[in-house]
Symmetry: D2
Subunit: 344 residues, 4 copies
C-alpha cells in the first residue's frame, strides 16, 4: 500500500452502523478517517458518544456541512436513514466524491419500484441510474468502476448469497421459496423506541412485517436479474434477543434429485475463491455466533428427500457483511485495494 | 371441589418439566402432591434442588421405588426421558394407577413407528394400544376416559393447533407445509452438556435436526388422522437464547382465495370456547413473551396474496402448554375437575 | 372470604408495575378490579397494551378522571412517577378512599427531606404526616390502620430487611456499611430511552448514581429510626442485563465475633414467622432467579473472620416484593384479609 | 518487524482462553502459530472445534506431546487448569523455551501460599522462584527478562490496577477495602456443568465463593508488595449473565479529603502513558461493554464525602486483558516487539 490513504468521511456516525465503519477504518491501512458527522444537538467528541473509542480516536462529530466534508474527503460513507441519503448523495457526486450509500435509496434499478415499496417519491432519479449494487460476489466488476455504490440490505445479502447458486444451476425452482429470517436488535437502529427496550425484547421473540417487508423486492429483483428467471419468495423476518447477526433458514423446492455432496460441490464452485463466503460441508450447519464479528457469510444446507426441499442456512453479522463490513469491502474494490484490507 | 384431592406423584422431579408440575400442583385445589422421585445420588430435600421451593414444599426426593409410589399415589406423572417411561408405565397401570406420561413413548399409534424414528425397540406394545393422545382441543372426549395418557410433544402442540383448522376446512393443502420452529433452552432438558453452556447459547442462534427431528412423525400422524388426508411437512427446529417458549412460523399453501377476516372466523369458530387458545385478530401477531408463564397457545396469522401462502404464528410456553401445563389440564379432564383448575 | 371484595383501581396501569398489580388482582379472591387509568393518547383496551391479558381481562384504560375513579373504587393503587402521586393522593383521600402509593412521594417523614433529595417542592406536606411506611415486617401494626400507605422502594426493601436484625442486635455497626446493589431493567420503568435499548443493556453491566441515589436517605432513615442509631451507608446501584429482580450484596462491620450459626439463629428469630422472608442456612446463598416471580425476600450470609465483615446477600423481585407484590400484601393487611392472599 | 516471527504453541487450545490466544496470534505480525494441543479424544482440525476459524486457520489440534512442541516452538502459552501447568512448564523451560502460563501455578512468590489457597502441593517449587508476575503496568522491566511468566488472574488484574495508585499515594488506607466483582460466564471455563447451563445462568445473578475465593491472596499479595503495606480486602465475586467481561466496584476508605480532579490527576499520572489503561474523567464511569473486545482496563471513580469512601469502577474483558490479551502483551514485551502489536 505505497500510495496515500483514501480520505474518508462517515455521515451518520452515531448509529450502530456508523460506529462499525469507524472501527473498521481505524484498522485500515489504506484509508484515513477525516470527517465524522451526524444529527447532533451540538458538536461532540466521538469518544463521548462511544466511550470504547477513548484513546483510539480523537475526533469531533458535528452536524453535516456538505461543503466542509467535500473539502476534506475523497470518499463518503452515507449511514443515513432511507429517503435521507438521496438528498445528499447527488451533492457529493457533483463535487467529484465517491459515495457508498448504506440506505435503500439506490438499491433499485428504477425509482418507481422504490416509490412503490417505500411509499415516498424518489428525489434523485438520475442517481438511481448510475448506481451500482454492491454485492461483490455477484457484481465485483461493476463495483470496481462505481462512483455511487448502493450497499445491499442486510437481509438481502444473506438471502441472495444463499439462493443464487441453486437457482442459477436450476437445481431449485424460482417459486415457492420461503425465507424465514431472524435478526439481532442492532438491525433496527439506535433510536429510543418502546418496543426495542430491553425488557420488551429480552426473553422474547417475534415475527414482524410478514408479507410486506421492504427488503422483499430487493431480494427478488436482484435474484431475478442474476438468474434470468422471475424469482418469487415469502420473506418472514423475526426479531432475536441478541445484539448482532442474521440467520436465515431458506426453503427451496428441488427441481431434481440431488445429493448433499453435489450441492456442496455446486456451492464450492461458486464461492470457493471468495474471501468472505464459507461453505459448510454436509452434516455441519452454521451458527449465528460464528458469523458475528466477521465479514463472512456462512452457508450450510440440508437436502430432505421426504419433502423435496433444499434447506439453506445462511448467517452473517448484520453490521459487518450486512452493512459496514461490506461497505469497506466495496471501498477496497472501488479503490483497487486488497479486497480483505481492514476486514478480518 | 368438595371431594378428596387426587393423590399425585411426580417421577422425574428434578428436571425443568418436573419442577413445573410440582409448582402447578402446589396451587391446585383438587390435587395433592404425595411423592417425588428422581435419579438422585441420595435422597435429598426438594428445596435443596430448587431453592425457590423453600418454605413452600418440604418433601424429599428419592430414587424411584414403584411399590412405594403405588402405596401413596392415585395418579402418576412420568417426567422421564424417552424409552424410560415405557419401563415403568405398565407397572403403575397394573397397580390400578392412572399415568400421564410426558415422554414420547406412547404418542404413536403403533410401536413400529416409534421404533423407526426413535431407533429403539418398544418395550410396552400393549400399552401403546390403550394410550390416549392428550391434546384436549382435539381429543377431549377420549382423554376423559384415559388411564394412560400420552402428553403431546411441545413442538407438536404448537404445530397441530396452528394447522388443524385450516387443513380441516380445506383452506390449505396438506403438502408443502413448512414449520420453522424456535424453542427456548429448557426444551433440551436439565443436564450438563457443552453445547448448552451459557456462552455457547447466549448471543447465538442455530438450526438443528433439520429434516430428521423426531417430533415430525408425531405432527404428521396426528394431523393426518385428524383431517383425514396425508399431511406432509418440513419441520425445522431452532434454538433460541431464551429460557422458555416456542414460537413457530408455519407456511401453508392456500387452496383458495381467502380474506384474513375469513381465516379469523374459521379459527374462532374452532377455538372460541377453548380456555387455553387465543386467536389474534388480523393485524396482530403473538409474541413469545405473551405465552410464557401461561398455559395458552397463541395463534395469529397473515395471508399473503403475492405468494398464495397462509402464514400462521403459534406461541406456547414449552414447559406449560408444551408439557407440564397440558399434563395438568389433562389430569383435570381425566378426573372430572374444572379444566382450568390450577392453571392461570 | 365471605365479604364483598374490595373495589380497587390502578392509576398508571400501562407501566411494568401497573401490569403486575393488575395480574395479582386478577388472582385475588378478596379484591376486584374496577378501574384502570394511565396517560394514554386515547382510551384503549388493556389487552391491546398487554396482549398477555387477552381472554383474561376485558377492561378499558383511559386517562385519569379522579371523580370517575372515586365513583367506582374503594382503594386506589397509584403507580405514578415521583412528584405526580402527590398531586392526586389528597383528592382520593378527601373522597374517603384508601390510597397505596408506589412512588417515593410519601416515604419520608418530612417534606424537607423529600425536597432535598428529589429536588422538587412537596405539594402535599400534610399528607406526608399521615402516611405509613409499608414494610410489613417492621411496621405491620401501623399498616393495618393506614389510609395513605407509602409503599417502599425496591432497593430499600431488599436493604432494610437484610440489615435490620444485625443492626438491631448490635452485631454490626451502623457505619461503614456498603450496599452493592444490582437491579433488572424493569426497575427503570417502561418508557422509550436510548440507554435502555436492548443493544445498550444486553451483554453490558454498569454502575450508576454512585454516591447520590435517591433511595439512600430512605434506607438510612428507616433503618436509623428502627434501630435507634444513626445508620450511614454507601449505596451503589448497578444495572443487570435481566428483566427482573434485585440482588444486593451488603457488607457490614461486625462488632463482635460471631458464628454463622448464631447469625442464622438471629435472622430466623426475626423472620421465622414471616410469610415472605426466607433465611438461607449457612453455606447456601440466594440466587436472583429464586426470588423472581415470588413475593419473597431471600436472605443469606457469610461471616469473614479475616476481614471482620458480615456479608448479607438479599434478593427480591423488584416488581413484586419491591413494588406490586408488597403493595398487595399491604392492601391485605389494611383490609384485614389473609396477608398472603393473591400472592404465591 | 524485520525479524523472523516468534514460533508459538498454544497448549490447551480448545478452551475459551485458548481460542482467544489463537485469534490474537492470527493477527499478529511478529508471531507465528506452529502448534495447537489440547486434551482431545483424537486429533481434530481446530476449525471443527471452533467453526469461526474455518478458512482462517487450517491446523490440527492433538494431545500434548512435549517433545513435539519443543521441536516446533520457541514460546509456549499454557492455557491449562491450575495444578496442571506446573507439570509441564519445567519441561518446556528445560528445553530452552519461554513459557507464558495462564494458570495460577506461578503467581505466588512462595509455593506455601499456593498450597494454602489451592489445597494441593506445588510440584515445581524452583519454577516459582524464577517466575515473573506479568502485570506490565507494574512490572514491565522484570517481564522483559522473564523466561517463565505467570500471567495474572482476571479478577486480580482489574483489582490491582484499580487500587494501586490510591494505595501507593496513601490516599486510601490498606484495610477495609471491599471489592465487589462481577464476571461473565466464560470466566468459568468451557466444560459441561449443570450450574453453567444457559437456563441456570440466564435471567439470574449470584454471588459465589464469598470470603474464600482463590484470587484473594493474589490481589492482596501483589498490592502489599507493590505499596509496601499490608493490604487486606474483602473480595466478593458474582456471576453475570453475559459472555465476557469483568466489572469490579471497589470501595476504599479515604485517608484524606480529596477532590475528584485530584484523584483523576493521580490516576492519569500513573497510567497516562499506558497503552492499555483508560482513566475516565470525573462524572463518567466505565461500562462493561466498552471494555469487551479490547485489551483495555477502564478505570473510573467517585468520591463520596458523606461516607469518606473512594469508589473505583474497573472494567476489563476477562478473556483479553484478563487472560489472552495480557498474555500476548507480555509476549510482546518479552520478545522486544511493540507492546501493542496484535492487540487493538
Amino acid at each position: 500500500m505505497n500510495r496515500n490513504p483514501i480520505k474518508t468521511a462517515v455521515v451518520g456516525a452515531t448509529g450502530y452502523t456508523g460506529l462499525e465503519i469507524v472501527k473498521l477504518l481505524l484498522n485500515h491501512r489504506g484509508a484515513e478517517l477525516v470527517s465524522l458527522t451526524a444529527k447532533v444537538d451540538e458538536t461532540i467528541a466521538i469518544d463521548r458518544v462511544f466511550p470504547r473509542l477513548m484513546g483510539r480516536l480523537e475526533m469531533e462529530c458535528s452536524n453535516l456541512d456538505v461543503d466542509d466534508v467535500c473539502g476534506k474527503a475523497d470518499l463518503v460513507f452515507l449511514a443515513l436513514p432511507h429517503t435521507v441519503s438521496m438528498l445528499f448523495a447527488p451533492r457529493f457526486l457533483a463535487a467529484g466524491k465517491k459515495v457508498i450509500d448504506l440506505s435503500a435509496d439506490y438499491r433499485f434499478p428504477s425509482p418507481v419500484e422504490f416509490e412503490k415499496w417505500y411509499g415516498a417519491p424518489h428525489r434523485d432519479p438520475e442517481g438511481v441510474e448510475g448506481a451500482v449494487y454492491g454485492l461483490p460476489e455477484l457484481f465485483r466488476k461493476e463495483i470496481a468502476d462505481a462512483r455511487l455504490l448502493a450497499n445491499p440490505g442486510c437481509y438481502p445479502t444473506a438471502t441472495i448469497l444463499a439462493c443464487y447458486p441453486a437457482l442459477r444451476a436450476g437445481l431449485a425452482g424460482p417459486e415457492g421459496i420461503v425465507v424465514d429470517a431472524k435478526t439481532g436488535v442492532t438491525g433496527a437502529g439506535r433510536k429510543a423506541s418502546l418496543p426495542l427496550l430491553f425488557p420488551e425484547v429480552n426473553e422474547n421473540f417475534k415475527a414482524y412485517s410478514l408479507a410486506g417487508h421492504k427488503h422483499t423486492p430487493e431480494m427478488e429483483g436482484v435474484l431475478s436479474r442474476a438468474v434470468g428467471r422471475d424469482v418469487r419468495l415469502e420473506f418472514a423476518p423475526h426479531l432475536l434477543p441478541v445484539n448482532r447477526g442474521i440467520l436465515s433458514t431458506i426453503y427451496l423446492k428441488l427441481e431434481k434429485e440431488v445429493s448433499e455432496e453435489e450441492v456442496y460441490d455446486l456451492y464450492r464452485e461458486q464461492y470457493g475463491r471468495e474471501p468472505f463466503v464459507r461453505v459448510y460441508p454436509p452434516g455441519q450447519l452454521p451458527e449465528l455466533k460464528d458469523a458475528v464479528g466477521t465479514n463472512n457469510c456462512l452457508l450450510g444446507f440440508k437436502v430432505n428427500p421426504r419433502t423435496g426441499n433444499l434447506i439453506v442456512v445462511s448467517a452473517i453479522d448484520n453490521l459487518l457483511k450486512g452493512a459496514a463490513g461490506q461497505a469497506v469491502q466495496n471501498m477496497n474494490i472501488m479503490e483497487s485495494l486488497p479486497e480483505t484490507e481492514g476486514l478480518i
